[in-house]
Symmetry: D2
Subunit: 243 residues, 4 copies
């Protein structure tokens, strides 16, 4: 059983009718619905407008994999909450950061870089699968197409990924490292670029498959209590002599 | 000309006579003196007890490579200053973090992990050179010995390095990734484990050579003004058609 | 169902009584017996002294994960067979290379380096677990001890691993990257250093657990027919216009 | 002084007038001429049609950086010569592999993978600079354009690079890891995708700058005599006690 929490800013869906038309139950509702089909996933949603920004301690502490979508309200996430998410990833929780979440506080804390990129309004995108043996790429062909997606282009200011799974091609002339993984502490992080709020990207079967695979990949075997610097008062050699 | 600033907490040297006996001009003084022999390096020192913690904006903005030694006073470095150092590395400045600097604010901001490790009082260390072709390893043999060094042992909670240059062996039974590099933003970071304040480690010729090489390696070709997310209003393809 | 073939030189076990005393059914027999307890693994053995060196085409083509132990008879493996193993890994088969297999033809073909190292007769080894979240490290503590193991020391001439899981510490003063993974083509490769024929290493529960985990990790989702350079006569953009 | 040898198949230039029109002195002649402007580079050329395929032992043994261009005559390079090149790279020589050299014997021996890719006749390419701080990228802007270049598309079957410097975008819809580095043995390898014989690619100032930078980056500090597995008869600890 993997406990998944889908976190969403849930701002555009409430404010703009055209966004609500695509995601009537919010981006979080869409993602939760397709993940929820797997009985091994126990899925809940959380949104910024809820108390504690949707992530009180007991929710966060019972999450194995956190999915994060945010765009224009990153600043409304308190530093303290961002740091709690950060620490829980280091202790083992999986984190899947979608699209404009590249600029979210938890992602930037984990990467240590600016995570900046260049961007442009909607364009046609083709997502190439360059690491087909990775668990996250299972079931994905050589590439798939998104008729309209917000352009995110290089240079993407990230640490060298521990695996670059997908490369994005945009008709207007840009490229992007669209799917990347990192190990951080005891946790696993997957960043996936598609998913602008005005495009029906999260209804695309390949996008759903990738997020679905990523949950499985990011799920922890265990979550540690702390990551302290232990003072080893006795060396392994001394211990051996004590026996 | 590479502008190097050697930053030091400069606490133990003032408080403890035995430390002062080893480093009469402080750890910073020792490092500055051997680096200063190279006329291509313009070396200055900075210490925590100076105004602005030794790093007012004009000093930081005129530093190409910053060397950082801190141990028990990490908390005295204001978050704001740590963030300025962090941002300047992302914009291109080189950073060399020594020994207990693994727990310093700038290093942890750049790594995004806890940077925890296990430690133990002085032991004999042997430092193995496992990437002899790297610029930082030039002039270093298969290994060198440190008669006494504080034990730092795995697991070291760091992102997978972009290069692991040195592995430490301790007589008491531990191992450590003792020299590692990372690219972060436009900057380069080198972490080097030896250098406890009560050991004459920075007088060791191999340690000096490694720090010397690291300055050369970390020196930036340029330092950028910012790392924003640019809004590309026109695509490369449209620009082409405008011609 | 994962089809595992355990390949062994099977030379020392036949020639030397002291080796036979440790591994009465051969190293291959020992490994096959503990793997075989998992009903999801269909395990068979193959040895150099069999026809086709134990790996006729039909055996190789029905292997999902190949385990390789060889020491003094690497040269007796025909180049043609080594190349077949190499190609099958590139097409998806998992490969687990044990101990002196670092010098085997298939491993060297996959690495592209000399795979040389320094070695010394038996010493006490401690194996540190530095990537505890990796599937191969599940169930392993901070470290485990081998009372006697052949010393393999750095510098190990390998490509930078895609993951360094274990570091070996030897009482005599050396260190080693004792467990490493690489992605090659569509296949996965795990190298594990312990396992000299005169030590009961493969009876050690942690060693068994690691090999057991590695089989699961290296098992392919599919094995491709070929790895040709396809001539794409029509571009994706033209295909789109044809629709 | 860096001793550079530019090796070329030199087949198309002799057989086809249109290729000769672009490279009247051969691709090797073009590359040698722009590299030769640096007085610190001692540049010579070598071609397949010369005795010993242009690389007798004394030439190879006096080369610090070898540049390799081949396309349809890879099979004419004897295995023995390919292996000599391979071994010299492992001992420290730099290797720069251009365009269709992805399929050359020395490159495939070093990579250990099929190095396959998909390809298509000439298209417009844009080369994005995603690691602007790397020595090889110095002087290169955010991207540069090649009006016509042979399309090389993913999936490129290579080991995960130690650095991915450039990403290629093709108007027809493909992407490619167009500039990659690897450390192998004591040597450094750079692969660069542009450079089909029917395009004036090697006259492009950015392409010239990249190759120029790559020579500097790949130049060895020293070249070892061998890469044997030394038998360490005495441990460092025993040596210490002998003192």
């Amino acid at each position: 059983m993997i406990r998944v929490t889908v976190w969403n800013e849930n701002y555009h869906e409430q404010k703009y009718e055209d966004v609500r038309a695509i995601y009537p139950e919010g981006i979080h509702g869409c993602i939760a619905s397709f993940l929820g089909k797997n009985e091994q996933y126990q899925v809940q949603t959380a949104t910024l407008d809820q108390p504690h920004c949707g992530l009180p301690d007991d929710v966060l502490e019972q999450t194995d994999v956190l999915i994060w979508w945010g765009h224009c309200r990153h600043a409304y996430v308190p530093d303290e909450l961002a740091e709690k998410v950060h620490q829980r990833v280091l202790r083992g929780m999986g984190l899947i950061v979608l699209h404009s979440g590249h600029n979210s506080k938890p992602f930037k804390l984990l990467m240590g870089t600016s995570c900046s990129l260049q961007w442009r309004e909607g364009d046609r995108e083709r997502v190439w699968n360059i690491m087909p043996t990775h668990p996250i790429a299972q079931g994905i062909g050589d590439y798939f197409e998104l008729p309209v997606e917000e352009m995110y282009g290089e240079r993407f200011d990230i640490p060298q990924p521990d695996g670059t799974l997908f490369l994005g091609w945009f008709a207007g002339g840009e490229v992007f490292r669209s799917g990347c993984i990192w190990y951080r502490g005891l946790g696993r992080v997957f960043y996936f670029q598609p998913g602008h709020e005005r495009n029906p990207t999260f209804w695309h079967p390949d996008v759903q498959r990738i997020i679905y695979n990523a949950v499985e990949w990011a799920a922890p075997s265990r979550i540690a209590d702390s990551l302290d610097c232990p003072h080893a008062k006795v060396s392994p050699e001394e211990k051996l002599q004590m026996k």
